[in-house]
Subunit: 278 residues, 2 copies
Amino acid sequence: MRNLTQDNITQAVLARLADTPDPRLKEIMTSLVQHLHSFAREVKLTEGEWMRGIEFLTRTGQMCDANRQEFILLSDTLGLSMLTVAMNNDKPAGCTEATVFGPFYVEGAPGVDLGGDVANGAAGVPCEVRGQVRGLDGEPVAGAELHVWQADADGKYDVQRPGQAHQARGVLHAARDGRFHFRSILAEAYPIPDDGPVGDMLKATKRHPWRPAHLHFMVKAPGYETLTTHVFRNGDAYLDSDAVFGVRQSLVADWVRQPDGRYLVEYDFVLNPVKAGA
Amino acid sequence: MRNLTQDNITQAVLARLADTPDPRLKEIMTSLVQHLHSFAREVKLTEGEWMRGIEFLTRTGQMCDANRQEFILLSDTLGLSMLTVAMNNDKPAGCTEATVFGPFYVEGAPGVDLGGDVANGAAGVPCEVRGQVRGLDGEPVAGAELHVWQADADGKYDVQRPGQAHQARGVLHAARDGRFHFRSILAEAYPIPDDGPVGDMLKATKRHPWRPAHLHFMVKAPGYETLTTHVFRNGDAYLDSDAVFGVRQSLVADWVRQPDGRYLVEYDFVLNPVKAGA
């Protein structure tokens, strides 16, 4: 295996994967190498461009820490995240649709009682959130676990503020009838973090970094597929140009201003039962 | 642009690149997004696999520092580096062939006089290196700048030893007749660093991490294309299974043991003249 050329090197690399014990890993690596090489051939990548790519990926990795995940941002802004979500969440009609996970979920968010306030001092207009978790046949999902997280009035998640305690995130459980309600703050549109390599990519391609206002949910219950989704705020200017391609019309809800100045949003979740034997 | 599906999301992402001012960047991003999405579709990437990919890339970036470039190792072991070299170094017959740059070049290596010793105390069997730098028509390239770097007897480059001063690397200039000679140590086969994510990938695919013994050269001279290459040591067990696919038969030379126990390797470099107007 000497003197490999641009015409036979791909086969040589694939041959080197022949002994991969895990067939799924072999399948993934085989496809990855083919597409990576096809990309380089299609654009006839120069050595200088190759080095800029190496530097971009290195900076992306080095931007990551316990509170920032620049590679998820990159995947989100290139549409890979939403493509993966779409391929893996083909649920029966009537189920709540999934959307991107995003880079701002954290493990260990505080538990909150039903009716409690997840804001924990986060800046923003007070808001009440209500709904019910049901299964596909309309059955209430008693005690469903809801993880919620969102940005504050300045468009920042708590993890974007160094040293900040948990704010505007929490974990609660639905009642026996599947109903839940909690207090938080009004969701606002915000730009994704654009002071790193992903921001440089957006600027170089003249793309804006904005996401329409939304509230993140992850809903879990035994016997049902976990649902990772958002509820988007109707009327937002960015619903048709979400920087991460995540908007689904079925997830858009009205945040309604109440006489006392607070907002109220109501949204029900319909979970997909796990198939028998799955 | 709501309700994107696995069938139309790629076009939606490409549409978002429409205003990219630099046509070359637009071309590269368009091809990259298409191949990235095609890969995910072809293997029907799961959400768990997506997250493992995010974690792998993050670890790869975080493994990089001033002395280690894990993304170059990844590119090298996936054959992308050699493919890029092959596409961009289609030189006339008679020119010395190029091969991969690798992750171990460093700026600021010490200057060495002709005949001097680049080893600087690196462990290894003493070796003399001789040759001539010529142009394609046989003309000597007076004063050509030669950057050389190599691993020591333990298979380690200086930058792999924390706090180590420059060893087994240097910059020298050919004489008026293009000839050069310097002292170093015998090149030995070595494994690429495999204690990081690239090593994990090699293990998971049952690939060995070894590179055949070689000496790196980068040769520069006004009026000629810069040549980045290796000279490989004839007889090495890994010449046909180089972990980074870099071996070219024309770059293999004999390291000849001399009566005093030292080795001698002779190799001439033929540079490609820059085309008029290029």
